[in-house]
Symmetry: C2
Subunit: 444 residues, 2 copies
């Protein structure tokens, strides 16, 4: 910060005309806002001008760096292997981090995953973890460093010491209609990845009905923007575009999803969840120089699952963070809902649609998620999808199990679950969209 | 206001997507802001979204009505002639209101002119009036009604009881880079005209170097937007586009301008000032149904000047508002600067340019205006332009008189005045751009 007073109105007006700001100006803006020197009405006007005019790639990188500079930056350079990290834009039934973190740690790559809580129709990793009795998601930075040195991984909440400017800016965006702006979203996500200190990062960018960005083209643009930021900041970064038309796996709801994670590490999980885990994990192994190609990376990760090494690492992780590691051998120790009912198929046919967003909202009805930040959760409730897209069902066959706290809530959710399904008389064409990988642009 | 809580974020997001808001929503926004229920950061985001997306004509009218609804609305329907009003977008040396108000009142048309103070390179009518000893620009609404009933006119400051939402919104626009947005400018101006209660309104929209909007095309768009609002609200409205390349008249500075007003009402003023007064006044007479056409209107107004009726009305007005009416017969009673120096022509030639903005800034140097709102004015100082565009000058001939409080300030202003002039060896083509009149669109 120089002695020159910041002319915030001039910065707003430049952005309003579509001119990029410099990193120093962006640091003065975001830092000034954090310190209370730039008032919220000026930040709000600037944020809307960014929604209007966008940011150049260079400006987005500069803004991300300005956010990072507002707090502590972690470094794992003292470890002998490159630290890895992962981000997902979120979806329904997305419990991939819980599988991927112990798997990569079993492969020897340090992995500190900082996660958030669920809001609306998407769940949050921290809530899922808290369905394990005793598990603590709050570690100090000292505890975090100590644990990673000892067992190679951690699953924790976002540290308030990292990127504090992002938190206050997000709160302002939330009340000023400025959440949806690609450079702001990309900078917010990547600032936390950069401050987290990993040198190898994979981004899971989802599209489809249950995703934050339903349109593949928008997801692709966000992926490219985030890869450009990470690459510009000297990290190895790739993004994987993955579909979120139907929920990932069969389980939606906190304890139910942890149970599915355990099943997956035991080799008995749903194919789509394990395949996405392999895709993200193999990108990390290849970028880290630990595997020559995706094929050998996938083989190695499969062996770490089959040998029990990954499940053992999850036990170790749970124990390190105060949780009951016994859940890995006996998932019945997880909380269970008192009432389990089923939703039945209205007739015979093929499942042609299983809308992720509608299932997410049905889980919200059951109490598995939050409509507003202050809502309390019931970690035991949720939905298990017995029939998924492309499955053949007969009339009366159970489509889904509802795990509920009361018959009333089950009745409320049943209609939503029913409406998430559509059927066709003919077998629908197999639609398993492949992953699309977005790497650094040529020449960068 | 209904019992439904206002979802301000949803309104901001609709505007962000380019959708118009309804009058009720706009009233809830502006009224809610005035009452402190809508926070300034949400208004700031909405204002920037308006800069981005603009407003439809219908929405601009609805917003103007919402602003008007925030305060008192005056009515002059009890008078037997239609009340008239005028607004100018402002310029250098623009003292037209001081000539037009007594002239129209002498013609029998009630005229309440609410004016502002000068800021930056443009002057303000209230400051000019205060160079008349004792003149008060602050009348209560009751005093205003009483004076208009008695003498048919008033020259006062903007009443705080009219359009209070405009004042708080303008203050927010000023610090959020959202001043320049055509619908916001048009609504701000027109809300005050509508609340002022006149049924016939003429708008003087200036373009050129000394104007708020230098480009004629932008001035034309603002004029059309304001005419559409006034017409939509049931008033008779026309706009006159007038040039502001060089200052209007010869005098720039408060007492100097009042002196020029008095000269003009005595038939001895500069031709451009009198011609613009006639143009605006004849539009008012024709719209009021008091004259069949512009030609007969101009003749009638010239007779009211030549008969001394307009000057007598100015004396009456000054006396009514506590000022010294003797200045009309003896302008030497106005304050005079202690030092008068001249700026001389560097060589022989024709004046090809006399930049209004530069002259306005030179007057600011002398102390005739304010850089920031809290600056004190010296009402006696200013500039008299002896040579104007198209004039022939010889080397050493005085171009302008500087009326100064000190030799230092005169020296500072001299360079600016000199730089405002440019000369050509050949006689420049006579450039007297005609006025362009913007009336209601066809079919409205």
């Amino acid at each position: 910060v120089t002695g020159t007073p910041l002319n915030v109105v001039a910065l707003i007006e430049r952005k309003k005309r579509g001119e990029p700001l410099t990193q120093s100006e962006l640091e003065q803006l975001s830092g000034g806002y954090l310190r209370g020197e730039v008032p919220d009405y000026q930040m709000a006007a600037w944020l809307m001008a960014v929604c209007w005019r966008g940011m150049t790639d260079e400006e987005t990188l500069a803004f991300t760096r300005a956010l990072v500079a507002s707090g502590t930056e972690l470094s794992w350079d003292h470890l002998d292997r490159p630290a890895v990290d992962k981000h997902s834009t979120g979806g329904v039934g997305d419990k991939t981090s819980l599988v991927l973190v112990p798997l990569m740690a079993a492969a020897g790559l340090p992995f500190v995953k900082m996660s958030g809580r669920g809001l609306g129709h998407t769940g949050g990793t921290l809530d899922k973890l808290e369905s394990i009795a005793g598990f603590s998601v709050n570690l100090s930075l000292a505890e975090l460093r100590q644990q990673v040195g000892r067992i190679g991984c951690a699953l924790v909440g976002q540290s308030p010491e990292l990127v504090p400017a992002d938190g206050v800016l997000y709160a302002l965006r939330d009340v000023t209609g400025t959440v949806n702006a690609l450079p702001l979203i990309a900078a917010s996500i990547m600032s936390k990845k950069l401050a987290g200190g990993a040198s190898v990062i994979v981004l899971d960018v989802k599209y489809g009905s249950g995703a934050f960005l339903p349109e593949p083209e928008e997801a692709r643009r966000l992926a490219a923007a985030m890869v450009a930021i990470g690459t510009g900041a000297g990290r190895r970064v790739r993004a994987v575009l993955s579909p979120m038309e139907q929920p990932l796996g069969r389980a939606v709801g906190n304890a139910l999803e942890v149970r599915e994670v355990i099943e997956t590490l035991h080799g008995a999980g749903p194919a789509d969840l394990w395949d996405l885990t392999l895709e993200l994990g193999s990108q990390l192994l290849v970028m880290s120089g630990e595997a020559a190609d995706a094929g050998s990376a996938r083989e190695r990760l499969s062996r770490l699952r089959d040998s029990g090494a990954a499940a053992a690492k999850l036990e170790e992780l749970i124990a390190a963070q105060g949780g009951d590691p016994g859940v890995v051998a006996d998932a019945d120790r997880l909380p269970a809902a008192p009432i389990v009912t089923t939703v039945e198929a209205p007739g015979a046919g093929w499942v042609s649609r299983l809308d992720a967003r509608t299932i997410g909202e049905a889980a919200l009805e059951l109490g598995a998620g939050r409509r507003v930040k202050t809502d309390a959760l019931d970690l035991s409730v949720g939905i298990r999808l017995l029939a998924r897209m492309g499955d053949r069902v007969e009339a009366g066959q159970p489509l889904a199990e509802l795990h509920s706290s009361s018959a009333d809530r089950a009745a409320q959710a049943e209609g939503a679950v029913r409406s998430a399904y559509a059927f066709s008389a003919d077998r629908p064409p197999a639609s398993t969209p492949g992953y699309e990988v977005v790497g650094p642009a040529q020449g960068t």
